[in-house]
Symmetry: C2
Subunit: 415 residues, 2 copies
């Protein structure tokens, strides 16, 4: 069954058939939405056909994905997604919320949300016979592509600026990817990736360029739907979902997931989607606040490196994720991101700065009255704190040093 009909430009709405291998719209460079055969899916499947599937991964949603089954072998690609949804009562109480969930994407195979996109892109590459997948990345997207490709023995090439932290590069290398550092910035790596993919017929995974990344990322929306709405309580008022935003592709993917569910008639109202950006990297929030879809680049400067972006590559759809769902954009300071790392840590969730940004945004939204006590809220932690230990160290006070004696211990405790 071919559920993948083609592409539709998010700007000019031109449609392209699935037989054309496309990235962005050839006419205006707009991000392309993948068009699914919703009518056939609707005829063929009911909710229970999905929720009863024996797949503890994002592949339980295969009937709603534009790729074929990548095969049943148990690999990290096959076992990406289906991350836990925690309900931390102390945080709900601190914020005065009735229902609060945190979706912990740090528990993906390479420890970030990006595994969802890379799993689908690698599956797509195999389907179209592309022997090499290439991406520009300094961080999670590269690690995810390297990890998912390694999982199924696919070749991955990663371009990163030579200034990328050696520790992040190490993860790419361990996964066996061919890593090439360029003497330039992220944008020059991005451009070289596109040129190389054209010339060598490599499949390009670049975020905000390849339409399939959002199709992977939408699976987080499906899981939120299944884990909360289907399982727990179909009576919930609209969920409010908080998502950290850098280039805008994750929030666009989550929006797409809920749009799919609405089109299928499996939900009858959209959740409200809140994008959270660092004040130092707020190109998309700026556009939202200007009531505009025009994304004006910034010179990004924030501790949250995974969402530090000068020129967001999926900005228009990211603005719409909020405007079309009665959501909003929130900006937060680096200091409140550090505090959010500590708040999440105290309930056992270790988030990287970009992962905690969404929670900092929720705190501010509550303060501003944008979220009411009865609003059910989901916060997405997009990556593990182990990805950025250095910043974590700035989020907490140093530990004291004592002599290893009971006297010293007692005197310390009495202080």
């Amino acid at each position: 069954m071919n559920k993948f009909l083609g592409y539709r430009c998010s700007i000019c709405k031109t449609e392209y058939p699935f037989t054309q291998a496309l990235y962005i719209c050839p006419q205006d460079g707009g991000n392309l939405d993948v068009v699914l055969d919703i009518a056939t899916i609707k005829r063929k499947y009911e909710i229970a056909d999905i929720t009863s599937r024996n797949e503890e991964s994002l592949w339980r949603y295969l009937p709603l994905l534009p790729v074929a089954d990548p095969g049943g072998e148990k690999t990290p690609l096959r076992m990406a997604g289906w991350t836990p949804l925690y309900s931390p009562k102390p945080l709900a109480e601190a914020l005065g919320l009735k229902d609060l969930w945190i979706k912990d994407e740090g528990r993906n195979p390479t420890a970030s949300f990006k595994d969802r996109a890379s799993a689908i892109v690698v599956a797509r590459a195999r389907e179209i016979g592309a022997e090499v997948v290439v991406t520009a990345s300094t961080g999670n997207a590269g690690a995810a592509l390297a990890g998912m490709a390694a999982a199924v023995g696919h070749k991955a090439v990663i371009f990163a600026p030579k200034t990328a932290p050696p520790a992040k590069v190490a993860q790419l290398l361990v996964y066996g990817a061919q890593v090439i550092l360029v003497d330039g910035n992220y944008d020059s790596a991005f451009d070289l990736t596109i040129k190389a993919s054209e010339e060598f017929d490599w499949y390009c995974r670049n975020t905000g360029y390849n339409p399939f990344t959002a199709e992977g990322k939408k699976t987080a929306a499906f899981e939120i739907w299944e884990q909360i709405i289907v399982r727990a309580n179909p009576e919930y008022s609209p969920l409010s979902i908080f998502v950290s935003v850098g280039d805008g592709n994750i929030i666009s993917g989550i929006h797409k997931g809920f749009k799919d569910l609405l089109a299928l008639g499996w939900i009858d109202q959209m959740p409200r989607i809140f994008g959270v950006q660092s004040e130092g990297s707020a190109a998309i929030a700026n556009a939202f606040n200007r009531n505009s879809e025009e994304i004006i680049p910034v010179t990004a400067d924030t501790i949250a490196d995974s969402i530090s972006v000068d020129l967001p590559r999926d900005g228009v759809r990211a603005v719409r994720a909020a405007t079309q769902t009665n959501g909003a954009y929130i900006t937060v300071s680096d200091n409140s991101i550090l505090k959010a790392i500590a708040s999440l840590g105290k309930v056992g969730i270790f988030a990287e700065p970009a992962g905690a940004t969404s929670y900092a945004g929720l705190e501010k939204a509550v303060e501003l009255g944008k979220i009411k006590p009865n609003d059910p809220v989901v916060v997405i932690n997009t990556g593990s704190g182990l990805k950025d230990i250095k910043t974590a160290m700035n989020a907490v006070k140093a530990a004291p040093i004592i002599e290893p004696t009971m006297e010293a211990l007692k005197s310390h405790l009495e202080r």
Copy 2:
């Protein structure tokens, strides 16, 4: 239903009732085994009662655990365990094995195997009304205790030597644990922990001291049993299980898990258990090779810090895990551990040095003919590679740097 009958010393076999709160045997200091009411469990439960449980965590084995249900709230403690079991064909082929699985414990909430022990110890602490749980640790055990305690709002105190890597200390602090660095080595932190737990009535989690850690760790055995033997094929010849060994508590816990299953009649043969130690930290392997249970301390020196142990605290039971199951001990060089990190990475599994040690051991066991092509093998990766990025960098070659041009790229690729 009280399934927890009491303790039995692994050395002198003296039994103690469950009403006594004990750590090691008061008579000879031997590690205590937890004694379960196997007869009642057997009468009350069948295999399907376990495997049909709707719990994607180690708590699906609650009927076989010596603690009560910690409550159903979705927290990282409730969602520890039930880690994926990968079947990486390229590694099986490289080793000439018919069946090879890798259990990826890096996907636990705090990214190591130790969450299993800490989840059970924290549940026990709540049950006996101990307000504080304390442990000595420089690494995974401390992070796991801090994370599991934070998950349920329990107080944790961690003693670590002041030489502990700041990055590892950061994780403890983010989880909100009270971290106290001592001006001494691990042993002095260990001793201070015990003194403090006695004086302040804190519950002590120290590995190889608290009998409940092994009860948590045994859940990995249950998962291996369920994920392979129950689900896949009851006809398998005995599994061979490879476990990295430091203080000896993980291998003892896995042994205990299979002994429980054998006592219940749910398996009819024990797996063979292979302990793998670094050549630079081989106190338990040395005893095994001398056909002895006497553990002689070493001066440990290995890159695999999580299994770098001078004086293993659970050595006797660790030796028996191999001797009583027709298993063996294997020692491997630091260099082969680095190679194993790269081999696992190439199938998408990023392991810390101690986590890859088990795989290095399998490679050597195959070479030595201790494992035959038809032996079904399980290798346990005990922790995520993100825990030790520095060593990972030594496992791979550095990436090249080029100008961001197609000319430079082509010339690089042609080299």
